[in-house]
Subunit: 324 residues, 4 copies
């Protein structure tokens, strides 16, 4: 049903609603908005909804903040706070439980470096609990973090590395941060998705083969994903749709021109575009020119949100104060 | 005539020849090929050719090496050698004349960082000639180098910085290295253009307002450009052309469908695409996913070629030996 | 008199006072302290003081903040504010006058990269005044910035680059940021010196031959320096002094042992150490192991202070909000 | 016996021989030299030698190349070749056995970043053997690689991460690369030590608590270490020794002065220096000013040597050809 690929539950829902003009059965949706930051909580409660959405039963929270495009500092701070609050709600932490944060992706490829960059800004504390317990500050919980790299760099499946580490240090939960592909340019670095169902294979900007979830790791896995690229075929297809819509507005309905244009839309066109593009250009990505700055900002937003979530002594006014 | 923007003389020539089925008048062309590296020397000799090409009278040399896509090390080395030889041919150096190499572009934006990265690998010697002349090695000529940054980072027009430095140190020639936009994905990091006519405004991945050429700087300016991105509108437009061509092959000539499809091609479509894309997505670029590695490789190829050109004691077998 | 090299006026004064037990004639000193940040304003008013201090007549302000060693975030913020205030006091800016900030030093050598790193965090605005004057925000003044690199990288004397740029863009003042060598380890990244007399040759971690001051550039030059290294000979000499002092405490005054130890101190010993070290080890520096993090923090402190100084709309509570 | 800390077997041997004027019992030594590269093979065969050396029974190979200080390219290449050959000799590889290379140390601290930088240059192949076995080139063996970070960054003991990964992927051997502390400045980035006994706790520039060796990991562990710093107390102590020696030459033997100076040398002085330095300056390191460039070069030398060792198709003339 949703051949055009999307990693975002909120996009899957939009596509369904556009076509069927109704809400997806077995799915609950709740939307709030505050100071330019919109939070959509999609709860897939039943298998019927999971099948339609193409995603497992669970919570999918989308935080959307268009002001991030203009590098609005207030929106930046509010986004961090919203992330911290939503994480607290779906996966509460305490001093007795350890969190392992995993930064997925390739630090050498800018749009895929979001996970490792976020991890580099985090406040890590597990070693103080282990080796200097008397120096542990109040309001801090045990946090460890790793960026395992990608298959092409390590020669090791990411899942194997994480499984190996989890089996040794036995954390109580894993938070996995990843860069996603989106259908829409306007989502790039303005949307954060939280899912308590883990990471599926094939998602993300790079290729991950192995799922990271409660089944494979034995502990709950919260995935935090941010769209950082659109693939070139998707963008071309969507642009043609927009072009055709623009032409149709100027055309006389009912004539041949109109009918041909309508035929240009849809899945067949998308497949044709893929066929045309693939041999010529391989794996292209479309990014804003300022992708480097955007990833820098977004990695700090995520790290601030995670610090607020993981360390109760860090208040919502402390955005940027504990960023490494 | 050539509204779809191209910085490459070889592309301008191709577009003309495709349409007119003849060579451009007032232009001489010479092509050689060696070990996977093709060198096309376009010499615009007369104003008529300059007008058609949209480029000033002068030499435009294109080095094309498809093997660079597969990171073929032999092609890598041959490309450096070809660059060194072509530069020697059009702008010979000696111990009495100083060369200033300028790395244009923004080091924070991967596809625009080619110039600064190349400069960082160069063998710089002018200070030894100035302060320790007795320590100057045989077969070395005086070379200095700077990466002035971009307007958004310095608040100063690049041309002003270069003019200021040139007026102080009075080099005998300027070599300016820049990342270009190309019409075609397959050119990305496989094509190098050398031009002895300087850099024109509006070229390059970033925006440069001021020309760098013999008129503005008072010395010859050799521009070395490498396509590192395709803009999203160009790519979409070219993709639609390819899609239409693919559809036309399946359609019965002479029918309405065919005529409509043909209408979809060309400049009007391109303008429509720009209109559709602009409000939605601003300045998008399309790059290969491995752009970071590609820029790293290409900056070394350019630095090797420049070292061979500038320092006669560095032979063609010394590729990578004097890279910083 | 002060053969052991120091770039800090406050250290030159300490050394004089230790020896002479009195204040330096022709020099006014004012000290204030606030929230862990001590500000010492040394005003060399007369030539006699200048001669003794080995520094030209002018203002030398030292900001000392020991809490920076513990990465205390409150001290970090207070230091930025103190820097902003002191700069406002000695070199007020307005919308009609342009400031050029120069980041001296080598970005490839961690302890020498403070200037370039600070410049990379600055809020640069001159191009908006030039090209989009209607978009200039209230409470912003025209700022441009450059990191010219060092002689070994560019082949060009830093002073030549700056003179070339100043002669083209004619700023109203130059702020030059540089890493200094200190006599004392405890000053590393805890002390900031502001001087309105420019930069002298031979100061700094790298080698600068040409002075940057009102005489050479034609506009006022404010130097901001931070000690980031101690040279190995100085450290060894000071350590021996401390060792001897510790031994003397245990020894019986008046005996031969005591007299020999006393002879070990002072300039002769220092010269001997230099002779012993030089052939063996060349230019060594002593740094804390965490120098990379320290430079990162200090560059942001300086950038925050400069932003507060240069842009009146950035208030003292906006520390970190406008850091690039 | 050897209170002044050294990680190098060759230094331990020197210190013993200086004092005892004889070779260490139970230890075999073999020295060869070729094109400026000296290889010393210390084989501790018996427990008596192990006790004296303070190191377990096993092979300790030291490669010394003073020409690396002058960035001599021929020495650079010869050093890579020597490393490759020595590794082949003590730990041969083949297509059926997998090697895990571990880059120890902190990528954010220049002198401690040697391991991670080396790993980043390596040719990694295990994933091709696993997922695309038909694409495996002749003359390549399965190699995977990881840089686990340090305790302060991950919150996880390095040994735990490596144990977790080793238990999952079951390599046939581990090669661990680490930055060491040396007693002597002239060793910095000119000496490579290979040991087939693994890594001991407390060695290295950072702090490692857990041994990485056959006992803890269940497979052979080859350690490759390069001195990148001298600690400040060691350097001061050695400098004082040199100063005293220089003074003694000028002094009349037999007088009081001479006897006092002699007393200044040795372990007591070293302890006093540590006491004097510690409260004042904490963990200082002494490095050459050009440490950043030196680490860059050395990481490539190691990666070249490892590539030659691990992939028989990479010949001794291919230095730098397969560096990432």
């Amino acid at each position: 049903m949703f051949n055009k690929r999307t990693d975002l539950a909120v996009e899957a829902r939009e596509m369904y609603r556009e076509e069927k003009k109704q809400e997806i059965p077995g799915v609950e949706v709740d939307v709030t908005e505050k100071e330019g930051v919109k939070v959509t909580r999609v709860n897939i409660r039943e298998e019927v909804g999971a099948r339609i959405m193409g995603k497992p039963v669970g919570n999918y929270i989308t935080i959307e903040a268009n002001g991030l495009k203009q590098r609005d500092k207030d929106v930046y701070e509010e986004t961090s706070r919203a992330l911290g609050e939503e994480l607290k709600r779906i996966a509460p932490v305490d001093k007795e439980s350890t969190t392992l944060v995993v930064g997925l992706g390739n630090w050498n490829v800018t749009p895929d470096s979001l996970g490792p960059k976020t991890v580099s800004h985090l406040m890590v504390t597990r070693h103080i609990f282990e080796y200097l317990p008397e120096q542990v500050d109040e309001g801090v919980t045990p946090v460890c973090a790793i960026s395992p790299g990608v298959l092409g760099i390590t020669g090791i499946e990411t899942g194997e590395i994480i499984e190996g580490i989890v089996s040794r240090i036995k954390p109580d939960r894993v938070i996995a941060i990843d860069a996603l592909a989106s259908r829409k340019m306007e989502r790039i670095n303005t949307t954060i998705q939280i899912a308590d169902t883990g990471i599926s294979p094939g998602s993300g900007v790079g290729n991950k083969r192995k799922e990271l979830n409660r089944e494979t790791l034995g502990v709950p896995v919260i995935a935090i994903g941010v769209p950082t690229v659109v693939d070139a075929a998707t963008m071309t297809s969507d642009t043609i749709d927009m072009v055709v819509d623009a032409m149709v507005k100027q055309a006389d309905e009912g004539n041949e021109f109109y009918r041909v244009l309508q035929k240009m839309k849809g899945e067949d066109l998308y497949k044709l575009i893929r066929e045309v593009l693939d041999p010529n250009i391989g794996s292209l990505v479309v990014t804003p020119k300022e992708i480097d700055d955007m990833i820098k900002d977004m990695s700090k937003i995520l790290a601030n949100g995670l610090n607020i979530y993981l360390h109760p002594s860090i208040g919502p006014d402390d955005v940027d104060r504990y960023i490494n």
